[in-house]
Symmetry: C2
Subunit: 382 residues, 2 copies
């Protein structure tokens, strides 16, 4: 994080410092400092990365985190957060924050919703009260939060949508993207739009081409990691990333496993988020260089080794598999913290290695070696 | 903590450096370093202080923690911990550890038990399997754990015990104390015995006198904070502490509120433990200089102030009451961590102030002022 440059470089500037094939090593400059890409954003849905405090996030090298418009609007409320000085002050994190727009949550969490060209009405998953989101209101909420990167409201397709349905849905999402740009009031809050188009190559290409015409600060690839095959995800990522402008950051939403990230960087993706490292940690699934282990396995009860002998995280420097195994069995809250720190550190460390490999110009070799070691251990099952 | 002195001063040496009335400011030297008294020991029943990691415990100034023989014997097992290098290595805490003997847990957690002069048989609260504790086995378990201070097995009286019952019980506990001394094999593991005698002044005095005849490294006052009135607790503490040898540390088990501690130090008590700061934290009850607040109160939802403007803990330096209120409502695990850090820091800070007041020779004035401010805020209700 080049905090000292934040006064001198224009907010939104995306500086590519190295390329290796389609993979890019860059920096995105925001109102709360610069972060390095390819970047993985730990997920802090409710204004906290579950089980990990901001000091621990910094210590593992996280430079940007993700939070969620839908959840924070419902509780504690974006106006309350605005009145308390914004989301950074509220959660004690003074580095960049991106917020998901809430589109995905509206379509996945609320079973009672009505959508029209104007926006979407849904019921709160907390108390059932009706809430209306429009492209304009979602920008307004994120400006209240004062985040560094806002996402536009998009319509998330149901799985199994036909080509005609996906095409109609894209027209609406494109219109919403235009309205989001018009609604923006704070230039220091960057705005990213989202490529959709289901699993249809022509719609993905069209979607990216349509958005290129509009002046967004970055472009996300949405609608993936929703149950499709790995091959479909790779194909849609490759097409979407390839059709987006080189000079802007590309963000693959909600993805993914370590191998998903290594592969997608090779296609030119710059930013990632995923609940997997923290959610897996809560179920005792821990990443190592040779795939993952489940700490609940009886074999680890007496194991004096750290989770991963190569890892330099707080957990691995101080605690054994046997101790973690005990904490999990005793249902101690420290288990959540120590396992989450390890998994998030694993992801941050992976991103550091990815960035180094791009700088050294041999990203394809790095990616091939990583895939081989990971897959030979069955690691992709995580 | 004078870690550099640990090679030079005899383990078990108790150095009184200042006195103010009956209150003493001292240092106890153990195999894992020296700690300052009066000391409060955070409770780490299952080899973890709930919600707080060892780094955070050190940062708040904790120099010794308490763990539990009964719980660790049942899970993960003291032999497993021994084979992994002892409790310090297991839980990543290299400073002093005291373990409660398990007597209290045997008598409070297990509803099926049989006691005789030899020891006690009870059923595990985890799986109902039968376990036998004797004075000898309890010393052996604690030596397996490799702790710095071991407690003898004692019989805990049921509330409402008669004088005759309490007297008979004391005879057995005294016999057990003698057997514990004989059973000890590791001189680096200090051994404390426990004054009992219910709410009977003569039995408390007799109990202390009996134990003085035996060469323990320190003396605990047990059987208090079990539902008796504050006046009874104070009377029994005063009698017990006054009858114990000046040159050995005195430990009041399971006590107590901040005022309990301030009062008991004035009677010559040196060591304390209590689950209150961590348990209260999990229920949102947070200590301040003017009593306690409940962070669940709606008034705090929009409050930008820290828990306590005078507090220098990690939580108060970084987060508002409004944020903690949100975390508690959202049932986020970070709430447990941040609230526990604050409450434990409050206790450690209280002990620092207590030690300073004794050094300055005006402990009675300090205690009077503390009681007045605390009681005027209704703080003792916590």
């Amino acid at each position: 994080m080049d905090r000292e440059t934040k006064e001198h470089i224009e907010v939104g500037a995306f500086s590519i410092v190295a390329e290796s094939g389609a993979a890019r090593r860059a920096r995105l400059h925001t109102a709360h400092g610069t972060f390095n890409t390819p970047a993985f954003m730990p997920v802090g849905t409710q204004a906290t990365v579950k089980g990990v405090n901001p000091e621990q996030l910094r210590a593992m090298g996280a430079e940007i985190i993700l939070s969620n418009t839908y959840h924070l609007h419902l509780r504690p409320g974006d106006e309350l957060i605005r009145d308390l000085g914004g989301l950074h002050a509220f959660m004690g994190w003074d580095s960049p924050i991106l917020t998901d727009s809430g589109g995905y949550q509206v379509f996945s969490l609320s079973n009672l919703r009505e959508i029209d060209d104007e926006g979407v009405v849904f019921k709160s998953h907390l108390d059932g009260s009706p809430i209306r989101f429009t492209p304009e209101s979602v920008v307004g909420i994120q400006e209240n939060l004062g985040v560094d990167i806002m996402m536009v409201l998009d319509e998330c397709l149901p799985s199994g949508a036909t080509h005609a349905e996906a095409k109609a849905s894209w027209r609406r999402t494109l219109d919403w993207a235009r309205r989001s740009l018009d609604a923006r009031r704070k230039p220091e809050c960057l705005l990213f739009s989202i490529v959709q188009g289901g699993m249809f190559e022509d719609l993905r290409t069209q979607s990216a081409a349509d958005l290129r015409e509009l002046s967004f600060d970055g472009y996300a690839i949405g609608g993936l990691s929703v149950g499709e095959s790995v091959e479909e995800m790779r194909a849609m990522t490759r097409i979407s990333a390839g059709a987006l402008p080189r000079e802007k950051p590309r963000y693959l939403m909600g993805v993914g496993t370590p191998v998903d990230i290594v592969d997608s960087v090779e296609m030119g993706v710059d930013m990632f988020d995923c609940v997997m490292p923290t959610r897996s940690a809560r179920f005792g699934r821990l990443y190592t260089e040779d795939g993952w282990i489940n700490i609940r396995n009886a074999a680890f009860c007496k194991d004096p080794a750290p989770i991963d002998a190569e890892c330099e995280c707080y957990t691995c420097r101080n605690f054994s598999r046997a101790y973690l195994s005990h904490l999990v069995r005793a249902k101690e809250v420290l288990a959540v913290e120590l396992c989450s720190i390890h998994n998030l550190h694993f992801y941050q460390n992976l991103m550091r290695r990815i960035r180094s490999a791009i700088e050294e110009g041999d990203y394809a070799d790095f990616a091939t070696a990583f895939r081989q070691r990971w897959n030979s251990a069955g690691g992709t099952q995580a």
